[in-house]
Symmetry: C2
Subunit: 271 residues, 2 copies
């Protein structure tokens, strides 16, 4: 899964040693150049690599026209099925074997969305020691308990799942904002995220510019993270006016301690 | 002057410490993505930098449609005058204070051009010692001689320019091919170039693929350089199948010794 695709994304993917072929879904937050101009080149490279598997690209209206008019102008015809899915509004965008991806409309100068990747909740932990004590042998009885069903032992005793299985463990939740200004009602979308990747174009002294241009300050992002029980906050899309981002980080830390500045090739372990 | 603008060109310009603002002319060889996909982002950055001076972009038909349809789709309106000049055929493309730029149509799968940057010839070297011997004092008489006019000294003697001024020194000539297959009649365009920047997509063992795809081998490029009195040959556009380009260089050297492989950030002193 790739979220946004600015100019040079394919180059950074190659340097990072990530497989371009394995990308099956691309999610575009909005149609500004710094979020989409890497798409035509990435699609070209996929074809050069003779890709055969379909690729789905999700994004706001305008995405289809951009791709479908751009490619013929550079004489490019993909070697694979390109499934462009434009959507409008906050919704469930796609789901896979054990995850879902949601959109949330956010305020910006053009139609713009945040995305949430949510892994399905996983079953609770099976307490092997307690099972042994109760005389539940490895096999079908244990599987039934893990699936949430009660079982009857040979001695007639009925065991309820909660006696040996812990509470369901919530799946990973990652929220990525793209570009956004202050968006009322966005809190629920971020609630308890393991990682919130939030734009922080400006520092707090430029909050009026942030309002005007419908971008965020680092302090707005940090306050949101604190308010919604987010575990890790990663700030990105920092204006090039900040030679290094130390002021952005310092200001954010006053409101939320577990914060870092996104960097090229950064990799984050979730557990 | 920028010749071609692939994806990421602006990033490399920034890393190289070159001023994007100072680019006044861009020359596009053909409309394949790896030669033009850096244009929209470069134009966006120019506007972000609040550029006011006009920019001229030269290229084949299709260039205008690409730029003029791409920019509105990413909601971009340049802050400066964008003067897109499409041309057809081999011609004088533009000229400046002391240079000209020419195009030469070359064989490729789409309409494609090579470019020649030619500095005007400079006056011959003034022989100060000889002038002193002849009694020509610094001043207007010397200027006339440099301009190619004969002068009469106080003693009545007439001095012709060739007595004190060397032959005109040819201006710098640089030829850049873009993508091309074997193009009859291309030799004159390259004649005596100080630098020939020639595509070499393939090595000699793949000459049939080169023919089929209308690209060049390193040996074709080297033979052309040898035949046309080129001083330096720089090979570029080497297929990614060559992990390093040593085979390309080795094969080329058999036919032309003063050859090198282009690399990012390479800078070449002409004198």
């Amino acid at each position: 899964m790739l979220f946004d695709c600015g100019e040079g994304a394919q180059r950074q993917l190659m340097i990072a040693g990530l497989s371009i072929e394995k990308i099956s879904n691309i999610f575009i937050t909005h149609m500004h150049g710094d979020h989409v101009l890497g798409l035509p080149g990435l699609l070209m490279t996929m074809s050069l690599q003779n890709r055969r598997s379909p690729l789905r690209i999700f994004g706001p209206i305008g995405l289809r026209q951009f791709i479908e008019s751009c490619l013929p102008m550079i004489f490019h015809q993909p070697t694979f099925l390109l499934d462009i899915q434009e959507f409008v509004g906050s919704d469930l965008i796609t789901s896979g074997k054990n995850y879902k991806v949601y959109s949330h409309r956010v305020k910006h100068s053009v139609e713009s969305y945040a995305y949430c990747f949510k892994e399905d909740d996983r079953p609770g932990k099976f307490n092997v020691e307690r099972a042994e004590e109760l005389g539940i042998k490895p096999g079908p009885l244990r599987s039934m308990l893990i699936r949430g069903e009660s079982v009857k032992l040979e001695n007639g005793r009925v065991i309820r799942p909660e006696e040996v299985v812990g509470p369901p463990r919530p799946g990973v939740k990652i929220v990525y904002t793209g570009d956004m200004g202050n968006t009322p009602g966005f809190e629920d979308f971020c609630r308890n995220a393991d990682i919130l990747i939030h734009e922080a174009t400006f520092d707090e002294t430029m909050s009026s510019q942030a309002d005007e241009l419908q971008h965020s300050t680092c302090v707005e992002a940090a306050k949101l993270a604190a308010k919604t029980g987010v575990k890790n906050l990663v700030l990105t899309h920092i204006s090039s006016r900040y030679g290094d981002a130390s002021i952005i980080l310092e200001q954010a830390k006053k409101f939320f301690s577990n914060v870092q500045i996104a960097e090229d090739f950064m990799s984050i372990d979730i557990f």
